[in-house]
């Protein structure tokens, strides 16, 4: 039995190749899934207004506010679903919420 990598598993996979018992042998393969396309509204990070309090980060259900060396960076738009929680939680008006142009 081959140990297929999740990135190589798609809807054309044969039964001979499917992983045994539908197991997955790697961490966090959902990273390959683009959920950003679900967005209707989009948060816009205004870095100049951000005080780096990071209160928005733990509220994100989609792990889409990356933190690097104690500072948040721009959104991970590949995964952000645009729920807007970060917008309401921000005490400094550092996140705008706009309708996405498709």
């Amino acid at each position: 039995m081959k140990k297929m990598k999740a990135a190589d598993i798609n809807e054309t996979i044969s039964w001979q190749d499917i992983t045994l018992g539908a197991e997955i042998y790697e961490p966090a393969t959902s990273r390959y899934v683009q959920t950003g396309e679900w967005r209707v509204m989009t948060p816009v990070f205004k870095e100049d207004k951000c005080k780096q309090c990071l209160l928005c980060v733990p509220f994100c259900p989609d792990s889409s506010i990356p933190v690097s060396e104690g500072r948040r960076t721009d959104f991970d738009f590949y995964h952000c679903k645009g729920c807007g929680i970060c917008v309401t939680v921000c005490p400094f008006d550092a996140i705008d919420y706009v309708r996405e142009e498709k």
Binding site: V33, L55, C83, T88
Partner: protein
């Protein structure tokens, strides 16, 4: 070490994006918050009851977890992780597993308050070194917002609809946290998402690093089922706590302690009026529903204060 949000957020993430939970879902926030309390370097096996979280975070071939993960069924998350923990104890003794592992399982309120209660109770009674986390969104959301024993009285759910004769759910919410406390396990707490997540983090950390079975009940609002704008989640959580609908407390080795006391206890309307599931309570002639809800919340709050004295 005192809680520091910045330090905690510098740790590697343990739940990846790309899962299929609805936008603004409280379950994702709960899982991230709890797993963040794991010490860096400690390994974990994550268990999961069938439910929204499970179908969304391990949808073949995509797992959202950086750690090992197991889901088997709806009603047995407690027992399944018991088996994993039992295996760990033996394999560790035999020297086949060398690392430190922690065992954390997540269940929705359906899988925890209701169909999985027996399995949970058994796992807690047997004393497995594990944490059971209920993300409580107060109805069976995965199947389409049916009432549960965790659904509060008067809530409009698809199997307890508000009609002309029956005003939504007839029964009060089951107090699962107290049921778990009655198991006399070392640590039980209830929490939700507030401010810098200090309350949730500290409780999760205690639960994970207290030896023996521990239980966390996390109120995890569901925008779809509760009918509010997804972005309003922080305010909904704040109101749940400040109206004392969802008090924050813990029971550590039998000692009850409030971890948050509202400066000013708000009337329940503040919480109820923000959610479509309670809309009918605000129609003319239904004032008694709000009154009775307030009476019930007050009575429960007083009882809790006595326990926490």
């Amino acid at each position: 070490m005192a809680y520091n949000l910045k330090r905690e957020l510098n740790k590697p993430e343990r739940l990846a994006g790309g899962h299929r939970l609805c936008a603004g879902c409280g379950a994702g926030i709960a899982v991230r918050g709890v797993l963040r309390a794991l010490e860096e370097g400690d390994k974990a096996v994550i268990g999961n009851a069938t439910g929204c979280l499970e179908v969304s975070t391990f949808n073949y071939p995509n797992t959202a977890y950086y750690d090992s993960y197991i889901h088997t069924a709806f009603e047995n998350a407690g027992a399944t992780l018991s088996g994993v923990e039992a295996a760990y104890n033996v394999l560790k003794k035999k020297g086949k597993v060398k690392e430190t592992y922690k065992f954390i399982t997540f269940g929705g309120d359906g899988g925890t308050y209701d169909i999985g209660l027996q399995s949970l109770s058994g796992a807690m009674e047997r004393g497995h070194d594990m944490v059971y986390v209920c993300y409580d969104n107060e109805a069976y959301m995965n199947t389409g917002i049916q009432r549960a024993s965790s659904t509060p009285r008067f809530a409009d759910a698809t199997t307890s609809p508000a009609g002309t004769e029956i005003p939504g759910k007839v029964q009060n919410k089951k107090n699962l946290t107290e049921i778990m406390a009655a198991h006399n396990i070392p640590y039980v707490a209830q929490t939700t998402f507030l401010g810098d997540f200090r309350d949730l983090h500290n409780k999760a950390h205690k639960a994970i690093y207290t030896e023996g079975p521990c239980f966390l009940n996390v109120l995890a609002p569901c925008p779809r089922g509760w009918r509010y704008e997804a972005a309003d989640l922080p305010e909904i959580c704040r109101l749940a706590v400040d109206t004392c609908v969802w008090p924050l407390y813990e029971i550590e080795n039998g000692v009850w302690r409030l971890t948050y006391e509202p400066r000013r206890k708000l009337p329940v309307e503040e919480f109820l009026s923000r959610q479509g599931r309670f809309r009918h309570m605000f129609q003319r002639g239904n004032e008694w529903m709000i009154r009775e809800t307030q009476d019930y919340v007050d009575q429960q709050w007083e009882k809790l204060l006595k326990k926490c004295e």
